[in-house]
Point group: C2
Chain length 246, copies 2
Amino acid sequence: MSRPPPRLYVESDLRESQGVELDAKAAHYLLNVLRLGTGDKVALFNGRDGEWLARIAAASRKACTLTPNRQTRPQEPASPLTLAFAPLKKSAMDFLVEKATELGVGRLAPVITDRTEAARVNGERIAAQAREAAEQCERTNVPEIVAAQPLTAFLADWPADQPLWVADETGGGRAFADALGSPAAASPRHGILIGPEGGFTPKELATLAALPFVNLIDLGPRILRAETAALASITCWQALLGDWQA
Amino acid sequence: MSRPPPRLYVESDLRESQGVELDAKAAHYLLNVLRLGTGDKVALFNGRDGEWLARIAAASRKACTLTPNRQTRPQEPASPLTLAFAPLKKSAMDFLVEKATELGVGRLAPVITDRTEAARVNGERIAAQAREAAEQCERTNVPEIVAAQPLTAFLADWPADQPLWVADETGGGRAFADALGSPAAASPRHGILIGPEGGFTPKELATLAALPFVNLIDLGPRILRAETAALASITCWQALLGDWQA
């Protein structure tokens, strides 16, 4: 079977016959890693103009220009789902960002809680992972990466008309599939908040439970790692409220 | 906060005051890695007798005997869900086994398809990963690991009264949440089958579609990696038919 052309996220506008200059890293990837050359096909998307089939118009050692020929897919709307999560250790976090992108979240919001272990959040690393996963899973957009903020600031900023589904690993929440059938689910935009390994502190949980837009949810009887809880709750949301519905 | 005692899977029967001798590896882990000693608490499970709180009764350089004091949790029944999957490359496979165990599958069945990339399946590695994940997520049992077999043999052996939900990445299937509401879902035991990277061949897909117990399902509009598809479908199943329901 013939392979589909490689997919690349670019910043430039995409219009018919309007040349797109790649940065050195993307040029290196196409020309030296994939060994493509003039005339070869590449799929491009920028999160605004849909997906375009382009061809390599000019290639030198460190530069590469592509010419978009035709739009192959329209632009998808951004997903209305935000995943807020306490930053994790490197491999778990890479994994979480990759899978959350594949599963179609619209925004990724790192939130620092009392028990968060990661001292600093590398936003560029998160953005790079999300971009790569978006290229691979055929999204026409990349999740927006929100700057890391403390839990209190995150909650203070949260729009009161959007439900925030918070995984409560102490068992105080409602089964997520049931909760998604409740009136609270009737909102066009939603958020999911997952705590760190070790969970929220009792004080944080009390603060969360008292907020009118927060709905505590339960993800079954086993102890899930933070990244597993994130993916499982995104999946539930997509299957019951999101774009898994035909 | 005080840490819960470490949890260990053991082969021995668990009965009050009946000593449990650990193997050298487990003894090393408790005594040298965790630096526990005589009198310290350990939680034990064997997949048959529930979970027991035990204490270290005797410890030498390479041996360790534990005495179960009391049963802290009853034995859970084994999950009626089998995950059948085309073996993946090392890190994706480790990940799949860990997450599938956390999400509560009862059996893991590696199935060799035409496009399966992994040449050999290391059953012991799968078993070790599953054991470790079970210890971590507080299951009282470990998934059963079935020996790898070709797809045709797997399908020939599959009990005709059990639905097999097969992820069809060509888009021919029914949204999984809808399908789980259909009469086919009214069975006490179920299986999920996930193909390799690159998917099933058209011939395999035709064979699958023709089997009365096979239900082709759809997991949304994005291209999911094989391990993501596995976890997403287990999650849906648990949330809608499995033990996520209160």
